[in-house]
């Protein structure tokens, strides 16, 4: 049988996945800041049994029916997790792990059983594991938009509430905000976006699209607004990449893994190279600071020597400076630099004294410090 339903052009699939990626990045920002990165993972895995039960119950692969089932089991899982960590002595990470594996295990069992049934109706359910943007129908894209756009508007409206609750929960409560309701709203939005993304990204890798863009965005900015938008943009890019690559020549590469590869690359680059927070940047700053410190300490040693041997104008040798330095091998380079800067002068061959400019330079640098211990 050929598809009797209209197949959308690549353009609308790309638009749909971009929208989904943007929403995932934005909502993921709040999940990451609330240290609930794993919550999304647990919820998305927990969607599987609901999805398959819905298929069995309605005997249909209509997106809305499957999404409804997924949303119900995802919500139940979220409540189970909150319930376990609130009412028992089990910690939240354990509650997450237990819930994720029980729900997902049950889902896989159902899936295997359904796939063994003789009729062909169940074919293609497995695509919900790893996602397949290529199989999106036109109305799936519309459904995706119908979920994503209200979610984004909600985030915009409740922006300050989300910011407040993520940063300081008890202060938010002291201002009279219904913190519990705000948290429920955030969790509901999370479930919605996960459900919306199931067909495209799949239950297994959905959480990557929630967490990774936010982690990458945090590296580049210190403003929540920018972080949320940037995470959205990263998410959208990964979504587009996933949709395009899995559509090329109808190779049916699952979309989820492509998206994850792409966003991982962004995370990797961000963790390494982002200014102020990136590893390379921090290493460079460390290296530069240590050079300056070495310079200062050599100058300071020279000044102290000159002070102790006052009147004696014949300066001190490189060997002497090396002897009292904690990093002797760096001393010659520092001395040359100091000579270049005019903070030190060479009185005799190989003998150095600090200049008045040098004394001034060090004075300025240490003016905010307390007096040295004598």
């Amino acid at each position: 049988m050929f598809e009797s339903l209209s197949v959308p052009g690549l353009g609308s699939v790309v638009a749909g996945t971009a929208l989904l990626g943007f929403l995932c990045g934005t909502l993921g920002t709040f999940a990451v800041l609330r240290k609930q990165s794993l919550m999304g993972d647990a919820i998305s895995h927990a969607c599987l049994p609901g999805l398959i039960l819905a298929f069995l119950l309605f005997n249909s692969k209509e997106s809305w029916a499957l999404m409804l089932g997924a949303a119900i089991s995802g919500t139940i899982a979220a409540m189970v997790i909150l319930g376990i960590s609130r009412f028992s002595r089990v910690k939240e990470d354990s509650a997450l792990a237990i819930t994720l594996s029980v729900f997902f295990g049950f889902g896989l069992m159902l899936l295997t059983w359904v796939q063994r049934r003789p009729d062909a109706a169940q074919a293609g359910l497995a695509r919900f594991l790893f996602g397949q943007a290529a199989t999106l129908l036109d109305r799936d894209v519309w459904l995706l938009a119908a979920i994503a756009i209200p979610c984004l508007i909600t985030v915009f409206i409740f922006w300050k509430h989300f910011q407040l609750v993520c940063f300081d929960r008890s202060f938010a409560q002291s201002l009279g905000f219904p913190v519990f309701l705000i948290e429920v709203l955030l969790s509901l939005l999370l479930v919605m976006v996960i459900v919306a993304g199931l067909e495209t990204v799949g239950v297994v890798l959905m959480s990557a699209l929630l967490v990774a863009p936010a982690v990458a965005a945090r590296q580049w900015t210190n403003k929540l607004e920018i972080m949320a938008i940037l995470a959205g943009v990263f998410g959208a890019f990964s979504g587009i990449a996933g949709a395009v690559l899995s559509n090329i020549g109808k190779t049916s590469i699952p979309t989820g893994p492509v998206i994850v590869l792409f966003i991982t690359l962004i995370v990797f680059l961000s963790i390494l190279f982002a200014p102020a927070r990136g590893i390379v940047w921090l290493q460079f700053k460390h290296w530069r600071d240590s050079k300056v410190l070495q310079l200062d300490s050599v100058l300071s040693n020279l000044l102290n020597l000159a002070r102790e041997h006052s009147g004696k104008q014949n300066g001190h040798s490189m060997a002497m400076l090396k002897g009292i330095s904690s990093n002797p091998s760096g001393v010659p380079r520092s001395v040359h630099k100091l000579l270049e800067m005019g903070l030190v002068s060479e009185v005799d061959k190989g003998l150095y004294i600090p200049t008045s400019k040098g004394a001034e330079y060090l004075n300025e640098k240490t003016s905010h410090m307390g007096a040295p211990l004598k």
Binding site: F167, D168, S170
Partner: protein
């Protein structure tokens, strides 16, 4: 007692038979407390005495097993609008993406309503509060780059923005240097002189007499509460802390 029209006679806080417990262990036991308006009150007691719990119960952050609290004669859910809360500095993640200004501005959210966004008026309030705590110059600094004392000032400014009638502060002097401590005390006095009431969880017994008008001695039960000169005695301290504590006088 004066007549009902005399607003000044309304207690800032009125706590009746308050009992709070975590699981089956009582943390506060049958507390009765009446705090007059315009007092600087130190809450003093050993670790685990329930000082933070007392503050959180007044704010409605914890559900008591029994008893109730009234704020300026109002039930908690209405009275809470009259309170500014300064939580312990360590209670938040300071690596949150926000500047000093952003955090202090959060203090204005309570009066903005559901859909309101901070505008010119809120930005002005925020700047004024930052100036009062001497942090205006650092307004655009990322909060992860602050020292402990600066973090405490930010929290204080966030409370000042609220222009509240009652300030509840959980260990504002924890880990701050003496300069910051002194300037916080100055601010507290200024607030008190403007008629506000402040309850401050405090650890340093030596400074209680200098800083506070009133003191609440707590150790699960209320040991004593009243003006410092009446209540802050060796006998009461021994009851609260056990025999090893002395005022060193």
């Amino acid at each position: 007692m004066t007549g009902p029209n005399d607003k000044k006679m309304e207690f800032a806080l009125e706590i009746n038979d308050l009992t709070v417990s975590y699981k089956d262990k009582p943390v506060l036991w049958d507390i009765d407390l009446e705090i007059p308006q315009g007092a600087l009150v130190g809450i003093v007691g050993p670790n685990g005495a329930g000082k933070t719990t007392l503050i959180k119960s007044i704010l409605g952050l914890l559900k008591p097993v029994a008893g109730s609290a009234k704020i300026l004669g109002l039930e908690i859910d209405q009275g809470i609008k009259k309170i500014a809360y300064v939580p312990q500095r360590g209670s938040v993640d300071w690596d949150f993406p926000a500047t000093v200004f952003d955090v202090v501005q959060m203090g204005t959210y309570g009066k903005l309503g559901w859909l309101g966004r901070p505008g010119i008026k809120e930005k002005k309030l925020t700047k004024d509060a930052l100036e009062k705590v001497g942090m205006l110059e650092l307004a655009h600094r990322q909060i992860s780059q602050l020292s402990g004392g600066q973090q405490q000032r930010v929290f204080l400014a966030r409370a000042l923005v609220q222009h509240a009638e009652i300030y509840l502060m959980d260990e504002p002097f924890q880990g701050v240097d003496s300069t910051t401590e002194q300037s916080i005390v100055e601010l507290l006095r200024e607030l008190r002189n403007q008629g506000a009431t402040a309850l401050v969880v405090h650890h340093d017994l030596q400074t209680v007499k200098d800083y506070f008008d009133w003191v609440v001695l707590l150790n699960v039960r209320k040991i004593a509460a009243g003006p410092v000169s009446d209540v802050f005695t060796e006998t009461n301290l021994k009851l609260a802390f056990g025999s090893r504590v002395s005022l060193g006088e």
